[in-house]
């Protein structure tokens, strides 16, 4: 009795999500698989002429392989900022959680401010300009680190409370220095939360649009998201290539989701509650 109810509601939910959530993604895939004339009709139908790979190749090759360059830029940006974020925010969380002092409330206030306050863009450009970092990849990497720190520090801090102090104290007795303790003893213990931070930040930084738009403008530097938006006007009458590009941009998060589904969902739920 109860089971039939579950089946009926479940099937209804499957139909509902199919219409609202699956159809848009299927639409991207179908248009990306059609040839130029068929794609122009924007029909939700199976392509008569299935040319997905050809379209993806064309989308990548468009404008002297701009999309390939954009992917390289995005990978550099994502890897460098996430690596920096993991190490720096773990260091902050470690000291913040372990050593209560008059600095702790300051850190607390800065972290909360970072989660709420929207960045002031033009003054940030002014600072970057005077440091010679405006329109440079290192500048954007540092921006991503600065904006990502509060969220990552909170995630690390929450986990750090579960790491027993005896661990550090034993290392002190063994005569280890503070750097050694952190990297050899603490860092390995944080492996699970490090994975969470890496996965979440890879998704955030890769999908970031606003910061590259302001701080790293210019075609040769453009990241994937910027290039995608530029292609909208480029491919105004070539929907097969526009949707081919959207499909390409969607593949990395899809891969992440397939492999790390549980970790992403848990991390986002936990991170938001702590924030």
């Amino acid at each position: 009795m109860k089971n039939t109810r579950g089946v009926v509601i479940g099937v209804a939910a499957i139909v509902f999500t199919a219409i609202f959530f699956v159809v848009p993604f299927l639409f991207i895939f179908l248009i990306a698989s059609k040839d130029i004339t068929e794609s122009a009709a924007l029909e939700f139908s199976w392509p008569q002429n299935f040319v997905l790979l050809d379209n993806l190749r064309q989308a990548l090759a468009a404008r002297d392989y701009l999309m390939v360059i954009a992917f390289i830029n995005s990978v550099i940006l994502t890897v460098a900022s996430v690596a920096g974020l993991v190490i720096l925010s773990a260091m902050v969380a470690y000291i913040w959680q372990r050593r209560a002092s008059r600095w702790s409330p300051v850190v607390n206030m800065l972290v909360l401010a970072g989660l709420i306050v929207p960045p002031a863009v033009v003054p940030t450009i002014w600072v970057l300009q005077s440091l010679g970092l405006f329109r440079t990849m290192p500048g954007l990497i540092l921006i991503e680190i600065a904006y990502g720190l509060p969220f990552c520090v909170l995630l690390f801090r929450a986990f750090m409370t579960t790491v027993p102090r005896e661990l550090d104290e034993a290392a002190v007795v063994d005569g280890a220095g503070s750097v050694q303790i952190f990297f050899r003893v603490i860092f390995p213990v944080l492996r699970s939360v490090i994975m969470t931070v890496i996965i979440l930040q890879v998704v955030f930084v890769y999908n970031d649009f606003q910061n590259p738009l302001y701080f790293l403008p210019g075609t040769e530097n453009a990241t994937v998201q910027l290039t995608l938006l530029n292609f909208q006007s480029q491919f105004l009458t070539q929907y097969h290539l526009l949707f081919g590009t959207i499909l390409l941009v969607t593949i990395p998060p899809l891969i992440m989701f397939i492999f790390f589904n549980r970790k992403i969902v848990e991390g986002m739920a936990a991170g938001s509650v702590k924030g």
Binding site: I95, V122, V265
Partner: protein, 309 residues
């Protein structure tokens, strides 16, 4: 809570005392402050300094190199030009609609996904996946889907005999259409936050309610809703902050148009920056800062206070 605090306080005192002894021998403790140094420099220089500087530059005419003090002129311009006032109002409308819908739909979907139905894992994945997809990709896709003639949405409506509106071309509708897409993309996060909240409610409450003969609605109203309050607080705070700051989706779908019908503060800031009005753009940043703080900070305090009582 008090007992754990005092024990952690006690363990904290022990190394501190040891640290004092060691400082005499010039050995740094295991928790050196210089670990703060590099992250603090990056954070202060690239986030705190610009935020403080924005207050000064918002009172100037500014080209990044020289700035001239013009008093309140930028703010006067901001509150006198129709386009900019519209942006301010739209920001509030957008934030309220998106967070309201995310609360209601997130709760409903979480109730559905924690009940005994088939294919829960699949349903949760499908609803959550848009959270991870590029906002620009989602925006461009829905711009095509919402096309008044060729778009799939209006074609589908035509099948059942409804003439679909110009979702993004009608100035009265454009902002709401973008907000709907925002909800579509973000409801998955609200749902998983609510699921986490509902799952953490102890089973005993439901059992007690069953003994008392409480109906489904009573269980929801008197057990689930109050005990899921932290989740509600999180969803509201997160989506309000996100909604007030939102830029990517609006920029990908309408660029603030038609005209300036769907402009928000963030898109106004970008447009003024592009036009070279750096002082005015910065005044926009300050307005956004004030709007976010004035709304979010008291709300967070209020929501968390309610949680304790």
């Amino acid at each position: 809570m008090a007992s754990t605090l005092s024990t952690s306080e006690a363990t904290r005192l022990a190394p501190a005392a040891r640290g004092l002894k060691e400082r005499g021998k010039k050995r740094p403790g295991p928790y050196p402050y210089w670990f703060y140094f590099l992250p603090a420099i990056i954070y202060v220089v690239l986030f705190i300094v610009p935020t403080i500087a924005s207050f000064y530059f918002s009172f100037t005419r500014w080209d990044l190199f020289t700035s001239t003090w013009i008093g309140l002129d930028n703010y006067k311009a901001f509150f006198q030009e129709q386009a900019l006032i519209t942006g301010l109002g739209n920001t509030l409308i957008y934030a309220v609609i998106t967070s309201g819908l995310k609360v209601v739909l997130g709760m409903a979907l979480a109730l559905l996904l924690t009940s005994k139905i088939i294919a829960r894992g699949y349903l949760r994945s499908v609803i959550f996946f848009p959270v991870l997809v590029s906002t620009i990709g989602v925006g461009l896709t829905f711009t095509v889907l919402m096309d008044p003639e060729d778009g799939l949405i209006n074609k589908a409506l035509a099948v059942v005999g409804i003439t679909g509106p110009g979702w993004l071309t009608n100035p009265d509708l454009a902002l709401f259409s973008v907000a709907l897409v925002d909800v579509w993309k973000g409801v998955g996060l609200a749902t998983v936050i609510y699921i986490a909240g509902l799952v953490s409610i102890p089973q005993e409450y439901y059992e007690a309610a069953e003994v008392d003969g409480a109906g489904r609605w009573k269980v929801f109203r008197n057990i689930m809703l109050p005990l899921a309050r932290p989740a509600t607080a999180t969803v509201i705070t997160l989506s309000l902050i996100g909604g007030l700051r939102s830029f990517d989706l609006i920029w990908a779908m309408t660029k603030g148009g038609p005209g300036f019908a769907s402009d928000v503060i963030a898109s106004v800031i970008y447009k003024q920056y592009q036009a070279g009005f750096y002082g005015l753009s910065t005044a926009g940043s300050v307005v956004l800062f004030l709007v976010v703080t004035i709304i979010v900070v008291p709300l967070t305090v209020w929501l968390n206070r309610g949680e304790e009582s």
